[in-house]
């Protein structure tokens, strides 16, 4: 009996803790937004973080995109040729990439590649008093350290998602047209007829922008509030990847429902 009560108590406590943490994250987000102008005015701060978050993630994104596109082409062709419509492969691949896989897979890879690095870096700065030292030098660490990293994530993710999708289309072109032998012209023309700029490409961009906000916020938040120990920083890094991935997938569902509402005529 006691153990049941303890269990319920424990559950209640963890729910309360989670809510308190969410509230803390919300306040942290506001604090970042208040000083988001700093990295825009001091562009070199942003450029440095764009280098570490964006440029360093470029290779993994482009390579992954190409392979995802190639696999999509093979799988898509296998199904489509059963219905005799293999030439619509371009639409299938492009829509999958632009609407879903581009933003989502890029965000997941980005969380693992750049988000975890940002958390570890900020966590170590916190553990070695670098953030406290900056604060004592009358330099706001949220403005100087946190907001450029956050903004870099928001800027990088949409760009990376575009590259992922473009690489994926290229990979599908290689497999579909060069390897399988789908007609070049109908591959592209079907794709252009089926992909809408605003509804598909812009919506995909909006998604990756939202993911950029989510992954960036989680990464800097976990780092900033990581316990200042080796164990604390390493578990914060893990939490960044896990929480960002879950957040991205859940946000993707919400955004997809919202974007494609009422489109079923």
């Amino acid at each position: 009996m006691n153990s049941v009560i303890e269990m319920i108590e424990g559950l209640g406590r963890s729910v309360l803790n989670a809510l308190a943490r969410l509230g803390l994250a919300g306040r942290f987000f506001l604090a970042i937004l208040m000083v988001i102008g700093v990295p825009l005015r001091r562009f070199s701060l942003l450029v440095r973080e764009l280098y570490f978050s964006g440029v360093r993630s470029l290779l993994i994104i482009v390579v992954s995109g190409t392979f995802v596109g190639m696999v999509l082409a093979i799988q898509g062709y296998e199904v489509l040729q059963r219905f005799g419509s293999a030439e619509t492969l371009g639409v299938l691949v492009a829509l999958s990439l632009v609407r879903e896989l581009g933003p989502v897979v890029t965000a997941l890879l980005f969380a693992g590649r750049a988000g975890s690095a940002v958390t570890a870096e900020i966590g170590l700065m916190q553990a070695t008093d670098q953030i406290a030292a900056m604060d004592m030098m009358a330099v706001n660490p949220i403005a100087r350290i946190i907001s450029p990293r956050f903004l870099a994530s928001v800027v990088s993710l949409p760009l990376l998602a575009c590259m992922f999708s473009a690489a994926g289309v290229f990979g599908a072109y290689l497999v579909g047209v060069k390897l399988i032998g789908i007609d070049d012209g109908s591959f592209w023309s079907q794709m252009q007829a089926g992909v809408d700029f605003r509804l598909d490409i812009v919506n995909g961009l909006i998604k990756s922008l939202v993911f950029g906000v989510a992954v960036g916020l989680i990464a800097v938040f976990e780092g900033y509030y990581a316990p200042p120990t080796a164990e604390g920083v390493s578990s914060a890094t893990t939490r960044t990847v896990v929480t960002s991935s879950l957040a991205v997938l859940m946000l993707d569902f919400v955004l997809t429902v919202w974007m494609f509402r009422g489109l079923n005529g």
């Binding site: 170590l124 700065m125 070695t128 008093d129 670098q130 406290a132 030292a133 900056m134 604060d135 004592m136 030098m137 009358a138 330099v139 706001n140 100087r144």
Partner: protein, 296 residues
Amino acid sequence: MPLPAACMDHEMSVVKSAPTHPDPLIEIKDVHFAYDERPILRGLSLSVRKGEVLAVMGGSGSGKTTLLGLIGGRILPNKGKILVDGQNVPKLDRAALYALRTRFGMLFQFGALFTDLSVFDNVAFPYREQTNLPESVIRDLVLLKLQAVGLRGAAGLMPSQLSGGMARRVALARAVALDPMLMLYDEPFTGLDPISTGIVARLIRRLNDAFGLTSLVVTHDLDASLKIADRVIVLAEGQVYRDLTPDDVRTTTDAFVRQFADGLPDGPVPFHYPAPPLLDQLLGKTVAGPNGGGTP
């Protein structure tokens, strides 16, 4: 309060409560602070006179580091006033606090150098952030500060390439970059070899006298601080326990200070964390304490 006025005087006798000074830079009045319900400071009052090097000592958890956080405005007290140069720190808004902090220099426990910046850029950081000086002037100032701590030759190194003592000295150069009025030192000797400890201790004294600073050194390294301090304050139970001159510390018969000065394992500060009698616990007569881990 009984108030012996002077304190630069090394012949001073033992005083048991916080003295006030004719010209204090920091005045702390009846400050209470609890961390998660655990009281750290209970009515702490002390003052720091302009120009002196004050060593604050005490065991782990006695609130030494908390004291620095309070003076720097990084943590807020539950109660009490903290006057620095006439301004009550806990009541300042962010802009005023930051304005005040530009006149502080703080040396953190392990230096807290920015690991992504070179030694030169670390020392240049305060100038680049807080002033509009041209880069050529900054360069000269940085080289002068590095020269003062003997590390001009290390300007191009990264913090990861420095030894503990060198990192501490670079951090010191960075802390005094903007010619502060007040220097705060958080355990400046921790983890240093005797030579480095001596170098850092002498630098603290020399910088204090050369630039007319006031220095507050939080430490548990008695030897090093006795060499450089004008006055030693011992914290215990969240209050000022003793206010002594270095000579007093060497000669006092106070059991607590003696235990601290001589490094005795047991004394007024007990060796054992509070626990039920060992025999009772072994025989299972008492329930284990929170950290006891015994079986009921």
